[in-house]
């Protein structure tokens, strides 16, 4: 399973209330009739961390393997998109 905190967009320190609010917002944004797969993902994520016990169990027993997307999310938290360097742009434009 993908990191449930990442799916719901909450920090690992989030409490029950914050997680529930994020869950409700996520299912409003991805209702099952529009995106079933995403909805299931959101629901599974919520079930995994809905309560303190569930979060503790997730922390102790989770064996999900982080995928490239998750690594990218963690690695790219401080990315600041910008225009490419003009010289580089010219080199790419001129490449054949």
């Amino acid at each position: 399973m993908t990191d449930p905190y990442r799916v719901l967009g909450v920090p690992p320190t989030a409490d029950d209330e914050a997680i529930r609010a994020a869950y409700l917002a996520a299912i409003r944004a991805h209702p099952p009739e529009r995106d079933r797969q995403r909805f299931e993902q959101v629901r599974a994520a919520y079930e995994a961390i809905a309560s303190e016990d569930a979060r503790l169990a997730h922390e102790l027993f989770d064996t999900s393997l982080p995928g490239a997307a998750e690594v990218l999310d963690l690695v790219g938290t401080d990315f600041q998109p910008r225009r490419p360097d003009l010289q580089r742009l010219r080199r790419v434009l001129g490449a054949t």
Partner: protein, 836 residues
């Protein structure tokens, strides 16, 4: 070989050919061309053209040169290919700028030469000029002004270059208004026209990706600015897909994408490598990557991700320690436990989890974690029966988890159920009190209180508790049934004590709560049994039998109720007019099988209730059952230990379905399940064939059952009166040997039950907690301790206690620290140690 030598060889070959293949020279030249022997085709056509300059031979020569040049270019020999193309143009009178020539020039970095083609009139066919200008737009854009100055003044490449460069410069400054203005100056038919959507897409990134994608859709594939278009397409890919697509770009385009994404330069190698690993990278390569680039990641990210990878790549643990420092004991044990589980080795995970629990339990703030770990261990299939019963270890862990996390209601409930199932009502009540103290108004806990009161025979208390449940949950159908059954049980108690009036009162109460016809039938049966003489009572018995569905099932329930109230079953059947000897139909037997399956496992009277019907049930084996029904019947008899009936039905089933190995197993199990060492060779071979057949049919349950039975034929012990001799090297006076023997004969579960009875519950539980490990490990540790104690103290008895006997208080030894070696006790102390 030199070029001249090759040339001579080809010519000689061409000259010799007519003698060998009988073809004339033009045919041989054509054959060489059509078969892709371009070098030979060139030579042959050149020879032909020396004689006569026919246009079709000139075309063929041009084709042969083109083929040969393309072959060279495909091998990366661009210079040679270009030289050959020049020869082709000279000898065959073809324009230079056709076919792949321009591509080769650009690939060879000869952009200026390509532009030069446009500068010289006649080098390019007039109708191809526009196409060539578009092709060379990227070259012209970045070429030196001097190279452009050679082009005609009206060349689009010269005229539109200025606004194109100005638009790029405006984008570079972030002046998008100026950029738009300059873009407008690039005509739609300009060779630079693709720059318009490309610059718009760039300007829309990253804030407006949809707009950028829309602009990019207007750029045709393989245009003059394809590298930039490709980079932008990658940058617009959703999620992490762009990462994997980075590999399809050259280095400059990759860096441009990473610029657009805002990736700091130090982290770019990590992302490029991550892209190469794909969307779902394997644990070890990803671990390597994170460790290698850890300095460039935000604080703690690499360590956190690596810890998640460790269960999948436990071999990386030393490298983790080297890179990020040591893990806490609990964390390291947790990772090792998860790693063991992931490779399917749950028994190996257990000691790790126990160490995790022990470590977490030491810190009050983390004790809930310890409780969770213990609950997980108790839930492991290895400790949990198919009926949900827990073994000793699981019960111990669950009890400890409740101590650590008393708010977990489900564990309280499971403990109460577990002890009740084992018949230890004292323990069940103790846990129930703890649970009720914490959850006084919880329906589930109250239901357990009801069940425990019923199991204790405290029917009034059970009814009172059930009514409390109904106050909280008025429509709970289970409670209504429980209350009804509590009154039935109370009525049985009164019937047994010949107190018919009180029994009737309870039965009156019961019918208010009971809903099913069967339950009401039971009420009538009990009413009839309460009065052994009245004619009306016999009518009630008949009605009760009818409500249960007639002769077999009704008769069985009557016999069962009669035994429960201490009456003679045969007499009761006679009073109800049930002919127990009549052979029942297949449907009746199946209904009985369902009833047997639905009855509690601990109802010891079921066998007695079946007794009057055994002969008839045996004959019913030949009834026309469906295969699934006969299997259901067999399994029901198997579950109740009705071996003779099982054998009859399994034999009948084999005759009808000889290809079903499960019946073979059941038949042999019926005969020898309690003494597998006695299975004759012929039956062993039959079992082995059935095992093969079950494997072929994918019947895994039967495979496992046959394997277990076969294994017992090897490991089992013979009957006590047979002389099996003593295992070599073991002394029967050695307590270790005797205890090992006891363990082997009784099994771990029974061995621990005996130990519990001998040591007392409290001492046993303390030892269980201190020693930990699996059931097997604990049993072995107990043997070691007992052997040592035997060496310290006078003779201690360790044998199965009498039924109901209290724990032996004369064995008060506390668990000594675990030792790896056993100290053999002195011979005097051993003597008489195991009299039982």
């Amino acid at each position: 070989m030199s070029r001249h030598a090759k040339h001579r060889k080809a010519a000689a070959k061409a000259g010799r050919a007519p003698e060998s293949d009988g073809l004339d020279a033009p045919a041989r030249a054509q054959a060489a061309l059509s078969q892709g022997r371009y070098r030979e085709a060139v030579e042959l056509h050149k020879e032909l053209l020396k004689g006569e300059r026919r246009p079709e031979w000139l075309d063929c020569l041009a084709q042969a040169y083109a083929g040969r040049a393309e072959g060279l270019a495909a091998k990366g020999m661009l210079r040679e290919a270009l030289a050959l193309w020049h020869t082709r143009a000279e000898l065959c009178g073809r324009p230079l700028a056709e076919g792949p020539y321009i591509d080769w020039l650009l690939q060879a970095g000869e952009g200026d030469k390509a532009l030069g083609l446009l500068a010289v009139a006649g080098q390019v066919a007039p109708e191809s000029v526009g196409q060539l200008e578009t092709r060379l737009a990227a070259v012209a854009l970045l070429a030196a002004d001097s190279a452009l100055s050679r082009l005609p003044a009206d060349s689009a490449l010269r005229r539109h270059r200025v606004p194109a460069l100005a638009a790029i410069a405006a984008y570079g400054r972030g002046d998008f208004a100026a950029m738009d203005e300059q873009i407008q100056a690039i005509p739609f038919r300009s060779p630079y026209r693709d720059l318009r959507p490309l610059l718009k897409a760039l300007a829309a990134l990253p804030e407006r990706p949809a707009e950028a994608a829309q602009a990019l859709d207007r750029v045709p594939a393989r245009g003059p600015f394809e590298p930039l278009a490709a980079a932008l397409r990658v940058a617009l890919l959703p999620g992490e897909e762009w990462l994997a697509a980075l590999g399809s770009l050259d280095e400059e385009a990759r860096q441009l994408v990473l610029d657009l994404k805002g990736c700091p330069p130090a982290r770019r190698p990590l992302l490029i490598d991550l892209g190469r690993l794909g969307a779902a990278p394997a644990a070890e390569p990803l671990f390597d990557l994170l460790v290698r680039h850890r300095q460039h990641l935000p604080e703690g990210v690499a360590a956190r991700l690596c810890r998640r990878l460790l269960p999948h790549a436990p071999a990386c643990l030393p490298r983790y320690r080297g890179a990020f420092g040591r893990l806490s004991v609990a964390e390291e044990e947790r990772l090792l436990a998860l790693a063991a589980e992931l490779r399917g080795a749950s028994p190996e995970a257990e000691p790790h989890w126990l160490r995790v629990a022990r470590d977490l339990a030491g810190a009050p703030a983390r004790s809930r974690g310890a409780a969770l770990v213990l609950r997980r261990l108790a839930d492991d299939r290895a400790h949990c029966g198919v009926d949900g019963s827990l073994d000793d270890e699981a019960m111990t862990w669950l009890a400890r988890s409740v101590e650590l996390d008393p708010d977990d209601r489900d564990s309280h409930v499971r403990l109460v159920q577990g002890w009740r199932r084992r018949g230890d009502l004292k323990q069940a009540r103790a846990h129930l009190e703890a649970a009720l103290g914490r959850f006084p108004k919880d329906v589930q806990v109250l239901l357990e209180a009801v069940e425990t009161a019923l199991a204790s025979g405290a029917f009034k208390k059970a009814v009172g508790l059930a009514k409390r449940v109904l106050e909280l949950d008025p429509i709970n159908p289970r409670v209504r049934s429980i209350i009804g059954h509590a009154h039935l049980s109370h009525a049985r108690k009164h019937i047994k004590a010949y107190n018919a009036t009180a029994a009737y009162r309870e039965l009156d109460e019961a019918v208010q709560w009971l809903r099913s016809a069967g339950e009401r039938g039971t009420s009538k049966l009990l009413r009839g049994l309460a009065d052994e003489r009245g004619k009306q009572a016999n009518a009630l018995l008949r009605e009760g039998v009818a409500e249960w569905g007639g002769a077999l099932l009704g008769g069985f329930h009557l016999a069962l109720e009669a035994r429960r109230v201490g009456h003679d079953a045969q007499a009761a059947l006679r009073r109800a007019g049930v002919d127990a000897a009549a052979t029942p139909s297949a449907e009746q037997v199946v209904a009985l099988a369902h009833a047997l399956n639905g009855a509690g496992d601990k109802d010891r009277l079921l066998g007695a209730a079946l007794a009057p019907f055994r002969a008839a049930l045996g004959r019913a084996a030949l009834a026309p059952y469906a295969e699934a029904d006969q299997l259901l019947v067999c399994e029901a008899f198997n579950r109740r230990g009705e071996r003779q009936l099982l054998r009859s039905h399994a034999e009948a089933a084999i005759r009808r379905w000889p290809q079903r190995p499960v019946f073979v197993y059941l038949k042999i199990f019926a005969g020898y399940g309690d003494r597998p060492w006695a299975i004759p060779d012929r039956d062993l071979r039959t079992l082995e064939r059935a095992l093969d057949m079950a494997q072929e049919q994918g019947d895994q349950r039967t495979v496992v059952r046959i394997r277990e039975l076969l294994a017992q034929t090897v490991q089992g012990f013979g009957p006590a009166d047979e002389d099996w001799g003593e295992p070599e090297g073991l002394n029967p006076e050695d307590p270790a040997f005797m205890l090992e023997l006891l363990l082997n004969l009784q099994g771990e579960k029974r061995f621990l039950e005996i130990a519990r009875a001998q040591l007392g519950e409290q001492v046993f539980q303390e030892m269980r907690r201190e020693i930990g490990g699996s059931t097997k490990q604990f049993a072995r540790a107990l043997i070691a301790i007992m052997v040592e104690a035997a060496g310290r103290a006078p003779a201690k008895r360790f044998a199965p206690p009498e039924a109901g006997a209290p724990p032996d208080a004369a064995v008060p030894f506390r668990p000594a620290p675990r030792r790896k070696t056993r100290t053999p006790p002195s011979p005097d102390v051993q003597k008489g140690l195991f009299d039982d």
